[in-house]
Amino acid sequence: MTRPLLILALSLALAVPLSLLAGRVWIDPFAPTTRNAALILVELRLPRAVLALTLGAGLGAAGAAMQGYLRNPLADPGLFGIAPGAALGAVLSLWTGYAAAPYALPLFALVGAGGAMALLALIAGREGGVALFTLAGMMLASLAGALMSLAISLAPTPFAMSEIVTWLMGALADRSWREVWIAVPLTLGGLGLLIAAGRGLDALTLGEAAARSLGIEPRHLQALMIAGIGLTVGASVAVAGIIGFVGLIVPHLVRPLTDRRPSRLLLPSALAGALLLLIADCLCRVLPLAGGELRLGIALSLIGAPFFLHLLLRMRRGMA
């Protein structure tokens, strides 16, 4: 338990300074002759690194909690419909043009995430069962997806349409300290709630009836999950768009290093998620690509989809 945490923390301590040097303009720490090096570091790279760490940690822990809650290694925080809800909010701000105002886009996204959370609680909250909850989440996700497609197809101008489509791909390019101040407190709050849910998630390992016999209140646990996932995922969509697969991949990579109890998976998943997003964002920055940067959301999906397939095949072999 402590060893993987230590290894992950050490890797992060190494990766963070390195990530600050990498980019379109490489900075040589021993001969700082690059023009505007300080400016690039403090105003461009540092907020971006902090964002990558924050969002990665939030998404990693959210994935671990989600898999624990649904007792399914293929679960992803996106299943709850909170990410699509947040994305729908952001899309509406772009569609209406309010996104031009400072803070409007993240605010719209957070309202979208909050709406999805409220709907989930309303539909599934009365009895606290997991099955109804999952179905409600999937329904919300597909509804939000349909409304986004509607918004794109009815975009008022071609410019708005391309704005929406680009934004949906998820990226950390051109983010500033403003986004950091939005994402950090929300993510930290969400992480706290997910950690508070840990004991309940451990009990759920034995099934819903046994968890209740161990004194876990399903509705209390569900409320912690909705709020915890809502804050972490909502914050990440609000500042960076949709970044998929982190919540799916990371808990998998980390699980064998732990005793497989969901509560013990949360912190290592947060650290590993932070590391993955930091590295992925650096690669996006460094890869020579005509016409700009590779979008982070696309890069992660490119890595994530084959990984998911590998996982499915391995699970099938395990069952056979």
Partner: protein
Amino acid sequence: MLAAEQLALAGRLSAVSASLRPGEVAAICGPNGAGKSTLLACLAGLLAPDAGSAALDGAPLTAMPSGLRARAIGYLPQTPELAWDVSVETLVSLGRIPWRGAPAGEAQDAIEAVITAMDLEQLRHRPVSRLSGGERARALLARVLATSPRWLLADEPLANLDLAHAATMIAQLRQLSRTGVGVVLVLHDLAAAMNHADRVLVLDRGRLVADGPPPVALAEAMIGRVWGVTGRWLGEPGAQALALS
């Protein structure tokens, strides 16, 4: 005392009253669909009855703080699930979840004691997926016992166990009752109930039709009436078998 008082649940139980004593092995028997598991879940505080109440030492379970209830009543479901392939030791440690805030040393002592008592020392680091059926059943029971409950409620603990493992399981449950724990089991195997329970409750279509020592509650006439079969008990008391004709 764990007591059901005029317990009723729409379509499943009607006016069931019984009070169970600590240190006693009680078996709940009845045909399929008689409401055995429902009664057990009510007694465990997992199902709220429509009318009547289940109470622990006079306090209704549905009004009791869930943590307090969880420390007093251990519950082993009929088909125990395990979502993650944890080790035996980790599985057993899950039984300490209701004791949040207790000193860590106390938890470790309880886990060690159960691992020794259930003869799981050799298997403690083994993933549950690599256990045999009998070992798995033992580990799952150990998880419930790690809570140190005053009551153990188990739904069909002998299902899927072969003869030898079923005998071991029964011996362990009897040993537990001697330490003062109240043991309540749903049993399909009438011979096991006849030979090893102190008391048998017979349910038929949601009603309690017999409650007493095994020879009375499982008398041949009662078996004929409730299960609709003609059977005869053979053998010595304590080692009887039911012969059907």
